[in-house]
Structure formats: structure tokens, C-alpha cells
Amino acid sequence: MREFAYERPSSLDAAVAAFAAGDTGGGGAALIAGGHTLLPAMKSRLRQPDTLVDLAGVPGLTGIARDGDTLWIGAMTTHATVAADPTVAAAIPGLAALALLIGDPQVRNRGTIGGVLANNDPSADYPAALLALGGTVETNLGRHDADDYFQGMFATALADGEIIVRVGFTVPTASAYAKFRHPASRYAVVGVYVAQTTDGVRVAVTGAGPGVVRWAEAEAALTASFTPEAATGLVLGGDLNTDIHASAEYRAHLAGTMLARAVAAA
């Protein structure tokens, strides 16, 4: 890892200031939450920030609460906490189950929901949940609607240095996530989150293409009949990934299989 400066501000305003002042050598500043994506990227020198601004000392970024039809989760809340939290389990059991599929127990003890959503890895799990359930990413600058938040591979509506404070998920009638895990990395080869909401059925797919997407054809089929059988034969279209793990054709088919499993579990 290249050397860098480390700041641990104790307020959101101080974090914003530290980030703004952190680009001391052209490498920029980086916000660090759990660090389980950022630190590996820094080890391999894909990222070489001049300054790391650690959000661990900023108060008010953890915690889980339900307010009406919205389940709020603080940005620095770990996957382990989400997976074990009774409020999450009661409101959106599919989300608790999703958290338990991220990484492994040690990773879940450090990795955070805000970190995942800020990074927006095209194979990450939470983006599928946020897009399918609908909801809000609340930051130090305002709110982003889930439908506008994800903007392709590692791209989001966040401005440079904008800090996620908490994430709101709309509580559905029923929902579930089905994921075909890469056995080594634990990322989704394909993951499908299905949500039955008062506004209709919403389906989001991660891992298959350059970023998380809604799946309109699946939503139409499940609106007609919310059954695993309705997913039979559905094949995901669009620009899908081909890599050493799976071809685009394989992922397209796998999405239909994960869709049926998610509906069965919802």
C-alpha cells in the first residue's frame, strides 16, 4: 500500500472538511467505512488516495429504526448487525437474509451498508435490494431516490465527497433475494431481489451486467401471477457480462432461475 494520511473526524462537517482538504498530492481523498472493498483496492494500488477519511468516529451513522413504511439503516451499520437485527427481520426479512449472504462472518463484522452503496460494485447485493424495494439514500447534502441513485458500474448519484448518512427501504408486502454466489469471492454471479409492494411488483438484478437494473419483463410476469411458475422461461436481456466465471448467455438464464427462487422464498 502506498503511504497516505489518515483522518478520523468526529463530526459530519469535519469529515466533509477533511475530505475537501485531503487531495494533497493529486491522488484525492477517500472516505473509509468498513474498508473491505477500499483496502483490498489500495493493496493492489487500484486506489492510491492521499488521505483516508475514516467515518468511524462520526456520531449518528449507525442504528436501525422503522418509521411508518420506511426501514432506516445507518450508513455505518455492519452487515452482521443488519442480518441479526430484530427490527429488520420483522419489517423486511428478505433484507436480513440478503445481509447474511454477503462475504463471510468476518467480512460481515466490518463491512457496512453505506460503504457498499457508495461503491456500487456491479456484483454487490444491497443495490438489488434498494432498487427493488424502492427507497432513499440520505446524505449530508440531501436525498437520492433509489430509482435515480444507481448510474452504472461503480457510479452513483453521489457527488465527490458526499457522505451517506442513512438508507431508507420501503417496507414491502413480501420480498426475497436469491443469489448465485461465486464460491470464492462470495459476490453475486447473478442476484435477483423481488419485492411485492403497494405500487406493484419490482424486480432488480445484480451481478449480471455493468450495474444493477430493474427487470421490466419479470415485473410484468409477476404482476400477472406472483408465482415461481410465472418466472419459467424468462431470460434476462440487455448488455450482460461475460467473464471467466460465466458467459452472458449463462447469466441471462441464471437470472430466470434466481427469479423463480426469490419468488418462492418471498
Binding site: R2, P40, P105, Q106
Partner: protein, 166 residues
């Protein structure tokens, strides 16, 4: 920068560069070489330690991130009494049930076992242990005796009143 850590019960200020990983501070800075570096990519679990009672991969956390935290390594589990070292019940179970061959993954496996006890209690079934070991790799044993050892260690901890502090 000055970072205060309680390592195996001893609190001290350590002067560390921000780029120093916890595992490097433990091994190179403090000589606690029981925590191993296997993959260095957060996959194998050989570097597992307890941070405030929770298992984390010491290769994927900076020492400076843990200012004020309590770290327990494999060296901190056994207790000294009347001049002789007594293995922690989880360690003793690995010895008793041949839960290791080359031993490289063992410190991380033992820590993973303690993490299981913290979250699931002392009565661990085989399916739970197997599932919970998803972040730990062993290249010798085939895991069979590791699962047996963790189940036995968890039970032995109940008998001896051992808890995993949060």
C-alpha cells in the same frame, strides 16, 4: 501516528504509520506471529483475530482504524497459571480432536470458533459450523476434524464458564 490498543489485555500506545495493517503491526511490530498471513486478500481467515470480541480479518483492517479497541490474538487465549500454560478450551479441543495438520490455518480457525460461540451459543451443530467456516480455508484436513473440534470446544467452554466478551 499514536494509536492506543489493548492487545491481549495490555493497553499501550503504538506509533504506527497509517498504511500499517493490523496483521503487520501484530507480527512485525509486536512479534505476535501466531496470527498468520495466508492469502492477504480477505478470503482465507488465517489472520482472524477478535476486535472487541468480534472476529475480523486482520489483513483487511488498518491498525489506526482500531484506536481505542481491544484485540485478542491466538497468543491471548491460553492462560498462565502456576508457571504452566493452560490452553483455552477451544485450543484444547483442536489438539484433542486432531483439528489440524500443518497448523497454518489453525489460529484463524480457533478464532472463528469463538465467533460462532458468541453468536450461536455452546451447542453448535455440524451444519452451523460448516456454514460459519465459509471464511476460513484449510488445505490439509478436509475440515472434518475442525468441525468436530469446534463443536467440542464450544461445549467445553460452557463447562468451564468461558464466554466471548462483546
Amino acid at each position: 501516528m499514536a494509536t492506543t490498543l489493548t492487545i491481549n489485555g495490555a493497553t499501550a500506545a503504538h506509533e504506527v504509520s497509517p498504511a500499517i495493517l493490523l496483521v503487520d503491526l501484530l507480527r512485525d511490530g509486536l512479534g505476535l506471529t501466531g496470527t498468520h498471513i495466508g492469502c492477504d486478500t480477505s478470503q482465507c481467515g488465517a489472520c482472524n483475530v477478535l476486535v472487541d470480541g468480534r472476529a475480523v480479518k486482520a489483513c483487511t483492517v488498518l491498525a489506526v482504524q482500531l484506536d481505542g479497541a481491544s484485540v485478542t490474538t491466538i497468543e491471548g487465549l491460553a492462560t498462565m497459571g502456576s508457571g504452566a500454560e493452560t490452553l483455552h478450551p477451544m485450543q484444547a479441543a483442536f489438539k484433542e480432536h486432531h483439528g489440524l495438520q500443518c497448523g497454518f490455518c489453525t489460529p484463524g480457525m480457533v478464532i472463528a470458533g469463538l465467533e460462532m460461540v458468541r453468536r450461536h451459543g455452546h451447542d453448535l451443530d455440524e451444519a452451523t459450523i460448516s456454514h460459519e467456516l465459509e471464511g476460513n480455508l484449510c488445505r490439509c484436513t478436509g475440515y472434518r476434524n475442525i468441525v468436530t473440534a469446534i463443536a467440542a470446544g464450544a461445549k467445553a467452554m460452557a463447562l468451564s464458564g468461558e464466554t466471548v466478551d462483546a
